[in-house]
Subunit: 507 residues, 2 copies
């Protein structure tokens, strides 16, 4: 734990068990590390991801043996796809107990390797500090990854000799000059797109991209699978690559060159009959201005200069504002319009609204500047834990979780930790009482009519989840909105106060 | 799905996604298979386990890609340790999509191998039916295991040629005569114990064991890690091996021979400083009367005969009944005494009460005959899903889930499916507002005093989870009991009615 603290890892999201008791006891000796208790490991893993996304430093989560880690894997998968640096500390049986088939015995390394190429098995206390340092280094190795360390209980309870190792923070390298030059040539050609991803979705990089677009005519787009995006009024807000491959191919129609900035060639979420998975035209060539582990922001600034583009001359035309309706049954549009009008500046939005996401985000383009954390690995149950982690990372900023009622049920336990830590998170559950995305996906898979028994596997209205009850059950104040006026009133009230709140927005 | 139906796999617990849409659509064509929707895959996996434990047939669960399976792994681990036959159907991307790093792309087989030695990757629709048949056979291969099959979406949406393969159900073999004879010799020696496990904890096997004990003086015990145990009045109820190794070693003091019946040498749950993991004396020899895949019940009956023991002469002395207190603050004893008095005959008890378990089960020895499903793999979050699966398997029997408030929060989504399917499950949450077992485990790990920051990782009282709210939020009627009279009244009322109920028993 001292090695973690000395290297700036100062928060650990945890749900410990017997094998981790000495680690937990050490919290009282090492005040630099803050333990945050979560009631399920999926919450720990997602919170570590959200914390890493907002701080740029490693998130850290503690798991109890193989099955504890197993419960965290889905959100570790999401963290991996977000390229978030996340340290997974996993307790193991005592070394002498490994030979037995005890109830909790399992191949922890096999669990860990499903989400990580970096898995350290600590065999003795002599090597613990160095193994921890390697894990810290591996997590933050660019562009960021999940790194796991497996620590037997007897190693935890033994005195660890030696110095506390320090790990150098990695620095993103600038791409070589020749790539800047080549990109400048490409940008001037017709049919060139610039696809921004990774850490390059910050205001600086976006301003550079805007200048390049206005100067060269190259069109800028945002990748889907990124950890966070600066958005809102006054910012350059390029379109995001569409979700469905038909739309994406239409979007990239005529593209001949794709300049990649900390991104990769976009592929569709799923494969479909008679549809390519690569979502750019076949003849389109991809060129890496900056790879995922390089400095995309610096590269875009250099490219701006090389193109003779002038950031001072960038004109951002904000989308026209939309008027809030005064009353009526609540719709997604009403939610989006109200949010856009009321979102506080520098808010953090954790978005996992699935079928409702596109429309909400369209409206949010009119909001005051905010940061938006999208879905990355597509494993639902990301939104609330990531919001939790972001709130721990940024206690002075309002966090909004835009959450589907289906995905929210995966890791609703996050609400409890929001209450316990009095985090400034407003959760908005978009309650359509359905895995609505599957209505679309069912048809896309070639099913022309959804029969009643299949429909029952998509319909979550029987019974309707009462999110207000669930939230209150975990100590979070909650309200339900079924009309425009209710939603506006509740949103206004929630944004005025600090602390955890939930609005169940029934559409 | 036709192969599943033809082989008696007629229930599938599921949370499907895009890749499984054609499988879901097939529910309308193949009415023999019932889809049961769960709001989280950990519930699906545990329900398949509970279903398998009660029917002896394979439980089946459907998962969406690697991360969906990941969410089920902890309860698949528990199923594996219970030796429950469970089929894990996992949807995969279309074959043409596998080459891409799509958001949900992951090594599904690697996830599956953490809990299963049987992982079928289906490469084409021509091999689907045979691969499914192999999976069905592997799951039910004695003594039962988790078997996974990974089915790409394009295989799901293609027409599958050929006949529907049928799989022969395996039959447990009787151990050879020489082992019966050897066990009979051992049973007569002083210092011999018989350890019963696996499927041998049924009334027939228990009666045989009672006769052997009374005839030979060999002492009978029950293994901890078993799938279900027939218990209650009129049944032979041997003691269970204690949880902590000191107690277990005391329990087996003087043991020289251990006759194993579908069980293994007991090992402790965890390793502790200066404590052996094997919980029998060093000099004690183990002898397998029946291995885990053999017929332990038949072996005990043969042993009874060989020993000249007479089942008709078995005298069972039931524990003396205990009087219910009329009033007062609720204690664990009050809960156990009331349950013992009111438990309906043939009830099924899913027990995951952790630190409260031993005392409750002691009282339940006085209850009307029931079946008890204990914790197996030790990964918390088993109790409610297993109760759900048992209720689907046995719709005519009352199911009681005895659940800790810590462990219950892992897979509380099970309550929603209990409401949706109107299952006759009474959930009793033992609310001590603490991971109380860790108080003990912390001290056992050598921590003499629990500091305030460590204590905060064990204390789940801030905020107190309002289980009544959580249950109502998922459509389950609920009540809180803080006094003896409340608990008795609520228990009586709940047992009179059919359908899902929850009592939050605050101790």
């Amino acid at each position: 734990m001292r090695t973690l603290a000395a290297n700036g890892v100062t928060v650990c999201f945890m749900n410990p068990g017997t094998s981790e008791m000495r680690f937990v006891a050490a919290l009282d000796e090492i005040p630099e590390v803050r333990g945050v208790l979560c009631l399920f490991e999926g919450v720990c893993a997602g919170a570590a991801d959200g914390y890493a996304r907002m701080t740029g430093r490693s998130g850290c989560a503690l798991f109890h043996l193989g099955p504890g880690l197993a419960n965290g894997l889905a959100n570790l998968h999401n963290a991996r796809k977000a390229r978030s640096p996340v340290i997974a500390l996993v307790g193991e049986h005592t070394t002498s107990h490994l030979k037995f088939d005890a109830p909790l015995s399992a191949d922890i390394a096999a669990f860990a390797r499903t989400v990580s190429d970096s898995v350290q098995n600590v065999a003795s206390c002599g090597e613990l500090a160095q193994a921890m340092a390697r894990t810290i280094a591996d997590a933050s190795r660019l562009p960021g990854q999940v790194a796991a360390i497996i620590i037997p209980a007897d190693v935890s309870w033994s005195a660890v000799p030696g110095e506390i190792p320090l790990v150098a923070a990695p620095v993103r390298a600038m791409p070589e000059e020749s790539r800047i030059g080549a990109a400048a040539d490409l940008a001037l050609r017709p049919g060139t797109w610039i696809l921004m991803g990774g850490t390059a979705l910050n205001p600086r990089a976006l301003r550079s991209a805007a200048a390049i677009e206005q100067r060269t005519g190259a069109r800028v787009a945002i990748a889907r699978n990124v950890s966070k995006i600066a958005s809102g009024r006054g910012l350059f807000q390029p379109p995001q690559v569409p979700y469905f491959p038909e739309k994406a191919l239409e979007f990239f129609a005529g593209a001949e060159n794709l300049i990649l900035v900390e991104s990769e060639i976009p592929v569709s979420f799923f494969g479909y009959p008679e549809m390519p998975g690569r979502m750019i035209p076949e003849c389109c060539e991809a060129f890496h201005l900056a790879r995922r582990d390089e400095d995309g922001t610096g590269a875009l600034e250099a490219l701006t200069e090389r193109c003779g583009a002038l950031e001072d001359e960038v004109r951002i035309s904000d989308p026209a504002s939309a008027a809030m309706r005064a009353s009526g049954a609540l719709t997604l549009d009403d939610i989006g319009i109200a949010l856009a009008a009321m979102l506080p500046e520098h808010a953090i939005v954790s978005e996992e609204a699935v079928s409702s996401a596109a429309l909400l985000l369209k409206h949010l383009r009119r909001a005051a500047p905010f940061e938006w954390m999208p879905v990355t690995g597509g494993s639902i149950g990301q939104g609330l834990p990531v919001a939790l982690g972001a709130a721990i990372a940024c206690p002075d900023r309002k966090v909004i979780a835009l959450e589907g009622d289906g995905s929210g049920m995966y890791t609703a336990q996050a609400l409890w930790t929001m209450a316990r830590e009095n985090l400034d998170v407003l959760t908005i559950i978009i309650a359509n009482r359905r895995y609505a995305i599957l209505d679309i996906e069912m048809r896309r898979a070639g099913v022309s009519e959804i029969g009643p028994r299949a429909d029952a596997m998509i319909d979550i209205s029987r019974p309707e989840v009462q999110w207000t009850s669930i939230a209150r059950g975990m100590g979070v104040d909650a309200a339900r909105a079924e009309t425009v006026e209710d939603f506006q009133k509740q949103l206004r009230a929630a944004l005025k106060e600090r602390g955890p709140k939930l609005i169940e927005a029934v559409i």
